[in-house]
Structure formats: structure tokens, C-alpha cells
Subunit: 248 residues, 4 copies
Amino acid sequence: MTRVAVLGAKGRMGSTSAEAIEAADGLELVARIDVDDDLATIEEAGAEAALVFTTPDVAFDQARWCLERGIHVVIGTSGFGDDKVGQLREIVADHDGVGAIVVPNFSIGAVLMMRFAAVAAPFFESVEVIEMHHPDKVDAPSGTAVRTAEVIAEARREAGSPGLPDATTTDPDGARGAKVAGIPVHAVRARGFIASQEVLLGDPGEIFSIRHDSSSRESFMPGVVAALRWIPGHPGVTVGLDEVLGLD
Amino acid sequence: MTRVAVLGAKGRMGSTSAEAIEAADGLELVARIDVDDDLATIEEAGAEAALVFTTPDVAFDQARWCLERGIHVVIGTSGFGDDKVGQLREIVADHDGVGAIVVPNFSIGAVLMMRFAAVAAPFFESVEVIEMHHPDKVDAPSGTAVRTAEVIAEARREAGSPGLPDATTTDPDGARGAKVAGIPVHAVRARGFIASQEVLLGDPGEIFSIRHDSSSRESFMPGVVAALRWIPGHPGVTVGLDEVLGLD
Amino acid sequence: MTRVAVLGAKGRMGSTSAEAIEAADGLELVARIDVDDDLATIEEAGAEAALVFTTPDVAFDQARWCLERGIHVVIGTSGFGDDKVGQLREIVADHDGVGAIVVPNFSIGAVLMMRFAAVAAPFFESVEVIEMHHPDKVDAPSGTAVRTAEVIAEARREAGSPGLPDATTTDPDGARGAKVAGIPVHAVRARGFIASQEVLLGDPGEIFSIRHDSSSRESFMPGVVAALRWIPGHPGVTVGLDEVLGLD
Amino acid sequence: MTRVAVLGAKGRMGSTSAEAIEAADGLELVARIDVDDDLATIEEAGAEAALVFTTPDVAFDQARWCLERGIHVVIGTSGFGDDKVGQLREIVADHDGVGAIVVPNFSIGAVLMMRFAAVAAPFFESVEVIEMHHPDKVDAPSGTAVRTAEVIAEARREAGSPGLPDATTTDPDGARGAKVAGIPVHAVRARGFIASQEVLLGDPGEIFSIRHDSSSRESFMPGVVAALRWIPGHPGVTVGLDEVLGLD
């Protein structure tokens, strides 16, 4: 049984996660920390792991505070780039046995989609990405679609795959979409979608597709729970769920 | 039994149609006319209807030749716009009982998709069109996608539907695709597709989609046969398969 | 502005509907009636229309009570078969100008899917229905799938369509699914679905599909609102949303 | 450059493969052997590898003949079960450096689908398989669907996954389909499909799907070519394309 503190427990991801932790075998919720709460509560509650969903301005310092006290951290706050990950590695190096994992995307479905897309991409002549989100989203394409296109492009480059065939010479209004790392990416914005994405791969006489439809925050909970169960046995700094899921 | 002549019988659509006519109940293939053949053969064979798949430069004159002799025509050659349709009306007006039908798209599936999209569009907040074709296609979006977007836009205008919701403010690479008559249209070009299209409609909590996948010229044959069976009883000039299919 | 009373206002459909009515142009919520409330409140509140989502044992008597007082009714309670519809007709015949509509399915998407499936079915050689619901559902196939198969079968019978091609001779475990009115129906039960259905139609070289994915009760609200706006101008008894949507 | 002989060169798979070999870099077609041809031609032509697509009654003896002469074999003939694979191992053990690969399915898309389904299955609560084929197919479900269900079941058993949730108590006509190794499998038979399959995986709030649509024999060619390129460097007996594709 791992004793868990949730930081940012009143936020949407934090509160949904708190419920999921309470329902999960092997995890025990011992502290809900919000913006005005004293971090000392975490230690007093005997937390072994902290789940960090606080805002980017405080998340790093809170993670450091935990790691320095031997408390493992699972970081869901966005914006932990190479820079901050490097700093986490320095902190962890000084505290034997403690682990930190930075998770840009807790959706196991999204992680599997990216992995499968990367494995499959070199075997097909064509590949394109279509992402579908609600129309209140302000940016296109989605971060997941960009990352998916990047891992596809990287896999094809490593395999020595040729460029994608495309005879288009007339496209006055931009129907062919965006090119991200050379991979066409299309963004649909329609009421009724929450977050969906499809990767289409094609060869003569066949289409292979991988699709993920997410309709609620609930879909992130298996990833949150898996990371919390995994972190106590894995010191050091890890990025992404791939290793947690045994995909490496 | 309707006696049919195929004009352009050595072309891809003409030759596939000739086979379909031979296999169809109620139709009898009596003449295969190609570029060097004398049109008189059509009359000598006793053809009651002519299927025109010749090139745009000769198709109109051939259709006129048939109509003036009381032979109904089904025109599959592309490029019969309002201008030529008007001329056909004048010819037909002088020849009692003869019928001409101009068919821009013989795919019953494509015709149904457009019709259903137009009927459904006013009932949903969002609508987008995704078309998928082989990567040797030079233009994007496809003519069918443009026509679909136009009929959707027209249906929404008539119903007084508001504009589509879209909060996108950041889309540096054009992932949101083309806007055709205000409707977002996305074009995928991937090996493995022949001609596919999906219309996505969305409301809070639901997605409605209409999709057509065509994988061979065979899929146009039911439309060709239906038009040939229908034309003898329908004098005057008709455009499109809608009336043939009983959709009007 | 139509003044509306909701009967069964504490139930799931009733309470969601009450919110939707409050948000809708042209409708005003004037009474929320629940199991212990006096129906007289409906009249006192000056309701012109009543939305009935109470249980089957009381819904009919409540509808009668409203109709006898000149209050139009929209009935969402299930179980209003030919028998009860006939009784409604008798009541309405005695009360000039009052209207009742019985709506087995408020999902506009589901209604459109059934209508489009019926229109398209005679044009294709093959047709099958796949419905997908959450795994807590106790019956298979769904009522909507059964109704869809029935309207497809009826449309094909009227059109004189032949039987569906199927060379299956070996299917020891029943993978070909159920036959409803001669139409194959498949039921998927998987976590993550709420209520989805796809109608697949096929001809040589093409597949045509119509799909509806519903992920929340919200998706029924446009149908509820449309029925309430429509009923005041349409005396008599109506069954289903088709006429409300202008599909007849 | 590997010199290749095709055995069964007049059959459908053999003749399509012969064309693909002629077009492929690194392979040279040196002999087309059919039922009445002398096997000695293979050796005379200097073939280094033989592609076997002959009928089950002669394929094994032909493979043995090749292996005994140091010619690698790629076997596409169906029906090479554990028994024959064992005999192949004995033959190969006596002939140093020669390799044989038995390939039940040359579709890279189908192989990837099975692999991905097995990897993903333990991460989701629900999983079902839907396969779609032309209506002239006599057996249901397809061999690929059965194999897919088996690898999914095996992956879940190894991971200790619980049984699939399913509250169905009423299913009079069998809409829930077949259970293969405990996994629901549905078979659609509709004109317009050649060979398609979708694996649906679900968790609360999300659906993950992997789909493969094959519309021609062409789609098997990349697998045929990959196996022929791979076999010269891989002595011993191999079953399936997984290792060829680097999936192991």
C-alpha cells in the first residue's frame, strides 16, 4: 500500500485523481493539499508519493520539496521541458532511492497510439494524422497530434523511409492541412467531441488505422494510478508513461 | 427492354458500363461506339438510349445528334455546366418526348451522402467534411467534397442556422483545413484509398457521421444502370441522379 | 413563448430537460411536477404544454388529465404502444385543438439514422447494423437497433429488394449475430461507449455507412426542445419526431 | 540480390507475387514453377530462395526438396501446423545455414493489428473484435479474427486481467456474437468489403480502436517481399512475420 498526497486537490485533475486513488487497490490517499495549505501536512500524513497537479509557477518547487524529503513525485503539471527535467535529475542524484516521473499525457490510450503509430509508420507508404476536439479549443493542431507526427517522422527517418507520396498541385484553400515534421495533420473542431485522434496509414490495397476517442477526464485515471503504483520501485527521473506501461 | 448504345465504349467508364449493361435486366447493349466510329451505327442498331462517356469536345454534339433522332441520352462526360444544360433544354423542347439526363456523379453512395448531409446539417451545431483519396490526385479538395460543402451551406442558410462554433485563434500551419462556403473541408491523400468521404456532424453529447468508401469503378455501375432504365419514361432535361433515385 | 410544465422533474431525463427548457428560446418553464405533487399546479401555473417523463404506471393518466384541460403533451415515458396511442386519439378527438406527441426516441441523431437507413437500404445489396453500448446494459440488441432493422426490412420489402447475400455455411459460435426482420444485428458491450450505432450498406466496390455516437443525455435535449416548440401548432396525436423534423 | 523461384506461379497469390518480386529492389525472379514443371528448373536457374504457394498436398515435399539443396524457402501455402513445422525443423537441422519461414498471413497490417491488440488488451477493461468480409465467404469468424482473439486472451491471461464486464441477460437472437477464447467476435458479411477487421478496446471515458481494411491481394506483397529479403540471413525455422518485421 502506497500512501499518496495529492497537490492541487481542488483542481479538476486533482479532484478526479483523488477519487481514483481512493478507489484503487494498493494506493491510500493520505493528504489533499491545495494552494493555501502547508506542505508540511504531506510529511505529517506520512505520504510516500505525491501527485502534483498544481499550477506551473509552484509545481517545480513543490516537487523539489517532496524529493528532498524522500517522497516520490508523479508530476502532471504541464510545462516540464528538458530544462526542468534536468534540474529534477540533479535533485534526485542527491537523494538516494527517490523517484520522479514527469507525465505529459496520462492517457494510456494516447501513449499507446503514439507508440503503435511509430512502430507501424515505416511499414506503410503513407501516413496522416486527424485530430478532433470540441470547438472551444483555441489552438490547432493539438499537442498530442504534434507529438504523434514527431514520433512518426522520427521512426520513418530512422528506418530510412522515403517521403510521403503526394501529387497535389492545386489546393487553393489549404484542404491538405498542416505539415508537422513533414506529416500531414488535420484538425476538426466540432461540438460532441472531447478529444479524439486517428492515425491513418496506407499501402497499395490497404488502410491501417489507430484511433483513440476520449470522452471524459476519467480516461486519464488508469494512467495516474499506474504511475503512482510504479514510482516507489523506480528511483531516478523518468519522462512519459512508456516505461510504466512496459513499452520500452 | 431498352436498347442502349455506349459512346466512348473503349474508355474506362465506357467499357465498364458496357459490361454492366449486358448484365442488367431490362437493358440490351446494341452498339459500342468509339472515336472513329460512324454515329449512324447508333440509329442502325435501333438504339433507344445512348450513354455518353466521350471526351468533352465531342460529347455535346453527339448528344445533340441522338436527341434530334429521338434517342434519349444519359451524359456522363464531365463539364456539362448551366450553359450546356440550357442548350440541351432548347434541343429537347423541339423534339417531343425525348429525354436527356446529365449526371455529374454516378455514385449512388455519393448522391445519398450529399442528400443526407444537407437534410441533417441544420439539426447540428457543427459540421465538417473529410475526403480521402489516393496520393496521385492533383487537386484538393475533391469536386464531391466541394459540392457537399455547398449543399450543406445552402441547407443551413435556408434553415437560418447560425455560423459554426470555432474558437481557434492559433493555427500556424493550417491544420483547420479549407473553408468551402464556410464549411471546413479536409483532404487526406494516402495510398490505399480510392475515393472516400466522411461528413461529421456534432451537437453536445453526440456525433453523427455519414461515410462513403469507394474502392472501384464498379461502384458507379448501379447509378449508370438506374439512369438508363429511368430515362425513357422521363422526357425533358434532368440534372443529377436525385430524381432517378426518388429523392425529390 | 410556450409555458411548459415538466412531469417527473426529479428524474434524470426530467431534470436535464428542465434545464434545457430554461435555456431554450421560445420556451418558459413554469412548473416542475414530481411524484407527490398535485397536478392542479400545472393548470395554476398556466402551462400550455406538459413534458411527461413519469413512470409508465402514471404517465397515461397524467397525459389524459392535461389533454382534458387543453394542455398539449409531449410524452417521453416508454411503453406507449398502439393500444395507448389509440386511447390518446379518442381523448384528443373530444378536445378540439389539443395535441399529443409520443416520442419513443428523443435523439434527433437516432431518428435521422433510421430515416437515412430506410431511404438508402433499397439501393445496396447488403446491409447490417452494429450497435455499441456500455457493458451494464442487460438486453441485446438495443431497442433502437431493433427498430432500425425493422424500418430497413420494411423499406426493402416495399422496394422489392432481394434477400441479403450470405454464403456462410460454418459459424459454430454465432459470430454472424442476430437476425432481426432478416437484417443482421451485432451488439458490442464495451466500457467507454454510452450509446452508438452504425448501419453498414454495401455494393460491389463501395461501402456506405451511417453512424451515431451518443455520449450523454444532453444529446436528447434538441429533440425535447423541438417537440415542445412544435406541439402547440399541431393538434391530434403524432408518433415519433419525424414530422417535427420535417422528414415526412 | 537474391535469386527467387516462385512455386505455384500460375495461382493467384503466386502470379501476383511474381510481379511484385520483379518490381522489388534486391530480388530477382529466376524461375516460375507450376504444377507440371520439373523442380530441377529451380536449381538450374540458380535460385537461392523459393516462394511456395502450391497446394497443401505438394507444398511440403517441394519445400523439403529445396531445403535439401540449400535453397531457402518462404512458405505461403496454408495448413502448416505444429506437425509440419516440426518436420521442417528436422530437415533444416541436417542442412547447415538454410532457412525456412512459414507465413500464415502475409499482411503486415494484419500482423501489426494482432501485435498491437495483444499489447493494448491488458490496459483496457473491455475488448471485442469485429471482422468484415465479402458475403461469398463460407466460414465465420475469419481465421485472422480467431487468431486475434486468441492472442488477446493470452495477453490478458498473462497480465492477470479480469474477465470482460457484460451484464447481458437477454439476448434471444445472439446479437452478442461468438466468444472465441472468451473474447466477443462479430462477423459482418457485406458486399463491398474484401477483408477488414477492427479491434475495439474500452475503458471508462475512452475507446481505443485498431482497424485494418484490405481491398486487394496487392496488400500482401510487402509481406512477401520482406520475407524473401529476410530469409537468406536467418537459418533455422521461423513462424510468422513478427521477427521479420522486428516486432520480437
